[in-house]
């Protein structure tokens, strides 16, 4: 009785994540064991003879039965051990931690931008069907799902860098003239504001603009589409009709009655949007030479650095699970039906 309805739901949702994470660990483990050829021979190197391959096999625990290997694998992970990246000689965990802020800054900024544009756009399109806003919304939605992210990025680059010269060259997070701000959050824009350096803030924002717009154009489509559909549905519902009949102001009907209810399916689609945005992030990072975990993985793929790629897949999956978890918790908190039960 001590726990309210909401806290109980939050707890239940947290518990639900446990089997999901277990599933992710199993798949990642199977991927490490599905390497082409013999992993022991691979890690021993080209010059290894039979005896040293056996030695490596023993060291890596590959002579153990599969379940035992899995336990060792999870044990290593719990200590933050993802192996060593061959290309740089540092541990994969260090490499990923170093690059994660760059990817997060890009992804979160893009999500924020697309939410800020897509939700009002969807609401306006639903309240004014067949107006120019509706057509614009439909156009953006169709273009957003048909355009490959890497192509949008390159097209923007051509127009805004080559033709107009507004954007800086696609060379990572900062122009060479600037030094990175002191690390607090790892996000250059926020860190430069904390340091009070306006020029630096502007420079990092300029570098971010095109990649963020590229990603946002891609994620805008599903959000706007869902907002429009959900708003159309709630606007046609009985309770909105009743609220209108009761003489409430149209603003009140739109925001308190229609929009708050339409928000719930939109929040649910965000899960799918996260999946898209984390994938598209890899492509955008490659186009703009953005030094995040995506371009790290692409470089590792080229030189067949398996430990690095697997560390990347695992950390992306965990990031995805935590984003989904966060969204579900927010959903529980904003769901008006839950608070009524209390």
């Amino acid at each position: 009785m001590a726990l309210g309805v909401k806290s109980r739901r939050v707890l239940a949702r947290l518990l639900q994540a446990v089997p999901t994470i277990f599933g992710i660990l199993v798949v990642c483990f199977l991927l490490t064991r599905a390497l082409p050829g013999d992993p022991a021979a691979y890690f021993a190197g080209d010059m290894a003879d039979e005896a040293s391959i056996e030695q490596v096999r023993k060291n890596l625990g590959l002579d153990q039965p599969m379940p035992m290997q899995f336990v060792t694998y999870v044990g290593d992970l719990l200590q933050g051990d993802l192996g060593v990246a061959i290309s740089t000689g540092q541990t994969v965990a260090q490499e990923l931690a170093k690059r994660l802020p760059a990817s997060l800054e890009l992804t979160l900024a893009a999500l924020l931008l697309s939410l800020v544009i897509a939700i009002p756009l969807g609401v306006l399109a639903a309240t004014r069907p067949n107006s120019w806003v509706d057509h614009l919304c439909r156009f953006l939605v169709t273009a957003g799902v048909s355009l490959p992210t890497f192509f949008t990025g390159l097209a923007l680059l051509y127009v805004f860098y080559y033709l107009l010269g507004w954007a800086p060259p696609p060379m990572g997070r900062l122009d060479m003239m600037f030094l990175a701000p002191e690390t607090v959050t790892g996000f250059y824009t926020i860190d430069s504001l904390i340091a009070g350096d306006w020029a630096l803030f502007k420079a990092s924002l300029a570098q971010m603009a095109l990649p963020v717009i590229t990603l946002a154009l891609f994620t805008l489509a599903p959000i706007a589409r869902m907002t429009r559909a959900a708003m159309l549905q709630t606007l046609a519902s009985d309770y909105v009709r009743t609220a209108r009949a009761a003489g409430l102001s149209s603003r009140r009907v739109l925001i308190d009655y229609a929009f708050r209810n339409a928000l719930l399916p939109v929040v649910t689609t965000l899960g799918m949007v996260f999946s898209f945005v984390l994938g598209a992030n890899v492509l955008v990072e490659k186009v703009f030479a953005w030094p995040g975990i995506g371009s790290f993985a692409v470089e590792a793929l080229v030189v067949s650095d398996y430990a690095a790629v697997q560390g990347f897949v695992l950390s992306m999956a965990l990031l995805f699970v935590s984003l989904n978890l966060l969204i579900d918790l927010i959903y529980t908190l904003i769901d008006p039906r839950v608070s009524e039960e209390e």
Binding site: V27, V145, P148, T149, F150, F151, G279, K286, V309, A317
Partner: protein, 297 residues
């Protein structure tokens, strides 16, 4: 018995069919884009089938013209850094791009709908295990999982197909499961069961064909996504290897020249990719209007 059941059905089937064609005409007239998309679809098929015989230059031959020439009457889409004709490469690439996505979608359709049908029909443990399996796939950002699979299984075109098929599997499984489980105890199913059909025969002979229309819509909408996904994988250097013409890899090669202003290397393969995806999305929307008028947006 069988004939007396069949007669009323046959008599209602004829007007229903006529209504179907009327509906098709209505949808074509209502939304001209659907008609255009069918025309573009036929264009894509022709390019895929006959592309290599229609193009003016050998798509892999270097020195078909001077290197990095902008579009001209001789080379409609210009030439790349090795002097290859971009137009020929874009046209010839259609076959490979469509092959990858069609085989991936076909694989995930077959396996996904079998898994989904079984779990929707039998429920219980079959359903729980299949559901867990699909949830585990969906727990990954899908493009990232595809990267991981190709990296682990080896960098080849077949593995691109398998990876794309695996990440699409849950969509088909979920859809087939939902469509089968609502029909599990329908009247016609009980009749089929009573006439002594085996469980599997009831499932795949009687229920499954009825789930096909919504799944067809899904296939069409999914094709575009599969094309984007495969092109994305080859853009980051997985699967298709140069000099094979493929849209994703052509954009990747052209990306190095975009900051010096050679736009045609990126724009034409990118546009081809966009048009293909656009076509399948529009056809999917058109099919949905045809199959399920209530869900029109």
């Amino acid at each position: 018995m069988a004939s007396s059941l069949a007669t009323p059905e046959a008599s209602t089937a004829a007007p229903a069919r006529e209504g179907y064609w009327q509906h098709l005409r209505y949808i074509m007239a209502e939304n001209p884009l659907t008609g255009i998309s069918f025309a573009m679809f036929i264009g894509l098929i022709i390019m895929a089938l006959f592309g290599p015989y229609l193009v003016p230059f050998d798509p892999v031959a270097t020195g078909a013209g001077p290197a990095l020439m902008p579009p001209s009457p001789a080379h409609w889409f210009g030439t790349d850094h090795l002097g290859r004709d971009v137009f020929s490469r874009v046209v010839v690439a259609t076959r490979l791009d469509l092959m990858i996505s069609v085989s991936a979608v076909a694989l995930s359709f077959v396996f996904g709908s079998v898994i989904g049908s079984l779990s929707g029909y039998f429920g219980g443990w079959t359903d729980r295990i299949a559901g867990r399996l699909m949830d585990t796939i969906m727990a990954f950002p899908l493009f990232v999982l595809a990267m991981g699979i190709v990296a682990a299984a080896g960098n080849s075109v077949e593995n691109i197909v398998y990876a794309t098929a695996i990440i699409n599997l849950p969509f088909y499984a979920r859809m087939a499961r939902a469509e089968v489980s609502i029909r599990r105890n329908a009247g016609f199913v009980q009749a089929a069961r009573l006439s002594g059909n085996s469980e599997l025969r009831v499932l795949f002979g009687h229920i499954f064909p009825n789930t096909l229309p919504p799944i067809m819509v899904q296939i069409s909408l999914n094709m575009g996504w599969a094309i984007l996904n495969a092109a994305g994988l080859s853009f980051i250097g997985l699967g298709v290897q140069p000099p094979t013409p493929e849209w994703g890899i052509m954009v990747a090669e052209g990306a190095n020249f975009i900051i010096s202003g050679e736009w045609w290397l990126v724009v034409f393969p990118g546009m081809a990719l966009m048009l293909a995806v656009f076509t399948f999305n529009l056809i999917g929307d058109g099919l949905r209007d045809l199959v399920d008028p209530q869900r029109r947006t």
